[in-house]
Amino acid sequence: MNTSPSPRRIVVIGNGMVGARMAQETARLDPQGTRVHLDLVGTEHHPSYNRVLLPSVLAGTHTPEQIRLPVPDTPTINVRTGVSATHIDTTQREVDLDDGTHLRFDELVLATGARAVLPPLAGVTTPDGRPAQGVSTLRDLADCQRVLSLVRPGAPVVILGGGVLGLETARGLIERGARVSVVESSPWIMRRQIDQEAAHILARRYEELGVSVHTWRVATRWIPDTGLELDDARLVPGEALVVTAGVRANTELAQQAGIEVDHGIVIDDHLTTSHSRVHAIGDCAQHPGGGAGLVHPGWEQASVLARRLSGTEPGARYRGARPLTRLKAQGIELTAFGHVHDPQGDQDPHLETLTISDPAQGRYLRLSVRDQRLVGATLLGFPQAAATLSQLYDTGAPVPADRLALAQGPPTAPPEQNTTTLVCRCNAVDREDIEQAWLDGARTRQAIADRTRATTGCGGCVPDLDALLEQMSHTPTAPTTG
């Protein structure tokens, strides 16, 4: 008789990046399917794909096929696309699907994600709440295809929302030859991630690419085939309007099931909701540590929850994220994380800041350090430093004393000890040895090599030795060292 317990039944609702990662992680932890049986349902008909790369699809650097994410080939993991969950019964532990079938669960994972918000703005929506003619959001592949059908080379496009997605979209549409304008209602672009000075330089970079940036302007009306009217009565021309003005968590299913919901579905460090058998991860979830809207925390949540629910690490916890924004825009290197500098608000005497503002080169760097730990940074045009600092922030490691050197990245010249007098590394022959060989009568490369072994390793020092020989042959007296 088989005495092993039957596999735990997990149902995941949502086949986005985080839901799919949950399935993938589960497959990795339980390749034989002895621990769990997992059903995943997703509304979209496509297999799971990398939403983060949608602006790259717009730019044409990726095709839709190229952003597909892996589907587990474990027989106990069953992925169904084009199917939506319509109701959760937490008492019967059952999910109703819109194809009339039901899924029973021991544990339910909500990975329902978020949807793009259309602002209450005249002309943007149809009476039934859908995007009006010429208008699109950019949340899924269908949106992406819609945007591509709306833009054409040389034609004007307006992007409403100057956050990360808006700016990445703007960069992508430039690659398609569109004339792009960005409209942002906040005082500056990327208001949540960077300070005003950085935003100003960033806007200049965009303007150099041909993007016109309008900040602190509220849109009043979308006029099809004409453009976006602003509160100062200006008209920003546009044949298409791409709305990138934020998202809202998809919480309706949870709410109907009586699960606690705030901005998102409320979860704790176990990634569990107010119902002990229902869990939530990704953009639909709201953890005290934040991180919604970024994929990295969502994937971390998927990994933790997969370890918990598969039983491979029941004690795994999600402790919150250190959200980090990394703009993906060709030719613009922007990284921002943590504390955002506020010239009025920063009264903390223990907060040190280092600022390099270089508008002429389109570069900006600001580090905020407390107790030798990085608490925030904005890095525009410092790719090497950004990579290093991101890791220091992520790992909580102390910041080097010489912060300016950090900004410059590691030296490209070899360390000094290798350049002083060593000529042939392979055989540890230095300049003095060669001069001595010369004094002893060696006058050719071969003669020097016979005496010192210089050049007999990789041969890389042949030009150096030849130069030395040349130099010595023109020195009338014996060469001196030092």
């Binding site: 490691a397 004393a401 590394r425």
Partner: protein, 693 residues
């Protein structure tokens, strides 16, 4: 009279001429040969000094009981004692109570007969070798991608014509200097957490140095695959016609767009884009190579990481085409031949699997025995060492050409296990650290004192020629094996002491296997023909593999869908840094040879710690001062060398030193699940100032 032979050290196997002086010593001069192009590094130049080292062993040593000192005995006493102990163990505990540990430094003939000795004379399944620490991850990945594992499937000289060569975790400027002569024209992309001499060369030649955090190479390779794809460099015709499995491999890469990979690897996204473009452009001209070394392989994810590099090569259409390819840079002198002829736990000669009934039948025929009498697969190196002296583990160990007391990971545990043995037999020419722990030490001949064949990093079989006679009292490894085998009841002819006789038998044993040596004869070796395996009898050698087809039955190469896993150990508040280990120019492996050469010892007499000045200052360390590195397993001592190009989170120590300065005091015995490679390249450590030794 001058003898043409090859260097005793690494897999480049530089050709050299040995000439006796009137005093009877041998002098070295470099010889023209494709791999070394007439060059030698300082180790090669000074290699003959080890032949006459004052502490050379010339008499067997025996310890009468565990606490007794080693004393000199004659050969019969030593061999009789060993045989008696081995027979006793076999009678009481079965044949697997005796284990054998071989080496990638042994000639093909020795490696072959050592495997035969284990399976036939001892009847044990418990044989593995130190190549498990070198080539196993690359070998496993190559086998699953190509169906065959030959380090470079093309002559080394092909590299010189390439536009771009990517080196992942390889530092030939330090470890194989003459190889750099082939890399002076291509632009280099070096992947290494350290600014090594090779990385510096890359920058000097207009190439790139990408310095990932240790343990994240796989992510970097996936990100490069993703980026070459999005930059339009995929060779779709090649992918369609010559490979399988692209889609799932690509989907794994989709999760690692450069800006995302940047956070985990610490490599700027802009560098990933630049590297992908440099590599991709060269690949379009079929003029790019990807090479891997131990840096990317010696991880618990080593096999998958090599698969990720191979995936990148396949996506660009590099392998199996003239002018481009993927290769791994073999480390030990006979790291290639050593993994082909049966000293690996799961293999029989000719690169055959020991669990393959046809392979067993073939080998049993050559060995004149019953296939059923051949043991099955045994434990891999670290598992074998960890089992020594445990209730179900071997009670006796015989080592040849290896010094596991220094080279194996987790020194403390390795020493515990070695000390728990009833019988430790070490064949060596000096009293290595392992020999010092042995019950019996057998003094054996060195490279210039015997002949045989070696297979270099290109899969080219070379003649090692005898240039001088061993000192009186010293025997060859083959003589030792015969002496033991006959005492264990084997007929002498099964264990020939003449290397050419052994080669002939090896040829027959390997015939029809993947690494077929049956066409390699003393006559052809004598002509210095370039003999690349596979070389079946009457067939020409194979300098370039896979030009027509890969070695899988369907002739296609395989993409393997691999994904990132974290290393076995992560830094924690008590061990906040990562220590990585490796080689330096002046020493070789455990230093048993190079520490006995004056010039090499005095140049690098002690272990050094390569550390960023800030990281050092934070730990209270000063340049040239001494430091303790402490991991969860142990502490090692090294002298501080500040390096402003170092990563802030990573320090480096070389592994050529023993005792308090042994790098493997730090490392763990966590293994790659496929190759069973230990994670030499990553231990969590803290730094503290230490008094000078």
């Amino acid at each position: 009279m001058t003898t043409r032979t090859h260097c005793p050290y690494c897999a480049l196997q530089c050709a050299m001429d040995l000439t006796p002086t009137p005093q009877g010593r041998l002098t070295v001069s470099p010889a023209p040969f494709p791999t070394n192009r007439g060059g030698l590094c300082r180790k090669g130049w000074t290699s003959t000094e080890v032949l006459t080292t004052p502490d050379r062993l010339t008499r067997p040593l025996l310890r009468q009981h565990r606490d007794a000192p080693l004393t000199e005995v004659d050969w019969d006493t030593a061999l009789d004692h060993i045989a008696e102990q081995l027979l006793k163990l076999r009678t009481h505990l079965g044949p697997d109570s005796v284990a054998v540990f071989g080496s990638g430094a042994l000639t093909n003939e020795k490696a072959y007969l050592l495997g035969k000795f284990a399976r036939l004379a001892l009847g044990t399944s418990q044989i593995d070798y130190n190549g498990r620490f070198c080539m196993s991850s690359a070998a496993a990945a190559r086998n699953r991608a190509f169906g065959l594992d030959r380090g470079l499937p093309f002559p080394l000289t092909d590299l010189a014509c390439a536009q771009v060569v990517l080196l992942a975790g390889a530092n030939p400027a330090e470890t194989m200097p003459p190889m750099m002569g082939h890399l002076s024209a291509p632009r280099l992309i070096v992947i290494d957490p350290r600014r090594t001499a090779t990385a510096q060369t890359a920058l000097d030649q207009g190439g790139l140095h990408l310095a990932p955090r240790p343990g994240t190479d796989l992510v970097l390779a996936l990100s490069l695959l993703h980026t070459v794809g999005t930059q339009g460099h995929l060779d779709q015709d090649y992918i369609d016609q010559r490979t399988h499995g692209f889609e799932p491999a690509w989907e794994q890469a989709t999760a690692w767009w450069p800006e995302h990979a940047e956070l985990l690897t610490g490599v700027p996204a802009a560098q990933i884009h630049a590297a992908a473009d440099l590599l991709g452009q060269a690949a379009r001209d079929h003029s790019a190579y990807i090479l891997t070394g131990r840096g990317t392989e010696q991880h618990t994810t080593g096999t998958d990481t090599v698969s990720a590099w191979i995936n990148l090569a396949l996506a660009l259409g590099l392998p199996g085409r003239p002018g481009s390819g993927y290769g791994c840079i073999t480390g030990q002198g006979n790291g290639q031949g050593g993994r082909e002829h049966g000293q690996k736990a799961d293999q029989l000669p000719g690169y055959r699997r020991i669990d393959d009934p046809d392979a067993r039948a073939h080998i049993a025929r050559v060995w004149d025995t019953d296939p059923q009498d051949l043991p099955g697969p045994g434990r891999s190196a670290v598992e074998l060492l960890n089992a020594l002296g445990t209730p179900n583990g071997p009670r006796a160990l015989l080592t040849f050409g290896s010094n596991p007391a220094v080279s194996a990971p987790h020194t403390f545990r390795t020493h515990q296990r070695l000390a728990a043995l009833d019988l430790l037999v070490v064949a060596d020419f000096v009293l290595s650290q392992t020999a010092a722990m042995a019950h019996v030490v057998l003094p054996v001949a060195q490279w210039a004192e015997e002949s045989g064949t070696m297979t270099n990093l290109e899969g080219r079989v070379l003649r090692r020629r005898r240039a001088t006679t061993p000192p009186p009292g010293v025997r060859t490894d083959l003589e030792v094996l015969q002496g033991l085998a006959t005492r264990l009841g084997q007929p002498a002819h099964r264990f020939p002491t003449d290397p050419d006789t052994a080669l002939t038998e090896l040829g027959a044993a390997s015939a029809g296997g993947m690494a077929d040596y049956s066409g390699i004869t003393p006559q052809r070796l004598a002509c210095d023909q370039p003999l690349y395996w596979p070389m079946p009898q009457n067939d020409p050698p194979t300098p370039r593999l896979f030009l027509e087809s890969f070695a899988h039955p369907d002739q296609r190469a395989r993409f393997i869908a691999v994904s990132h896993r974290p290393p076995a150990e992560a830094p924690d508040p008590h061990h906040p840094l990562i220590a990585t280990t490796g080689r330096i120019m002046g020493h070789y492996q455990t230093g048993a040879q190079t520490h006995r050469v004056d010039q090499l010892r005095t140049a690098e007499p002690v272990a050094h710690l390569e550390v960023h000045p800030d990281t050092a200052a934070r730990a209270g360390l000063t340049d040239e001062g001494w430091a303790h590195l402490t991991s969860p397993r142990g502490t090692t001592l090294a002298r501080v060398r500040l390096d402003p190009t170092a990563r802030l989170d990573t320090v480096f120590v070389p592994f050529h030193y023993a005792h308090a300065q042994a790098a493997n005091n730090l490392t763990s015995s966590a293994l790659d699940p496929t190759s069973h490679m230990p994670e030499f390249k990553l231990s969590a450590v803290r730094l503290e100032p230490a008094p000078p030794p």
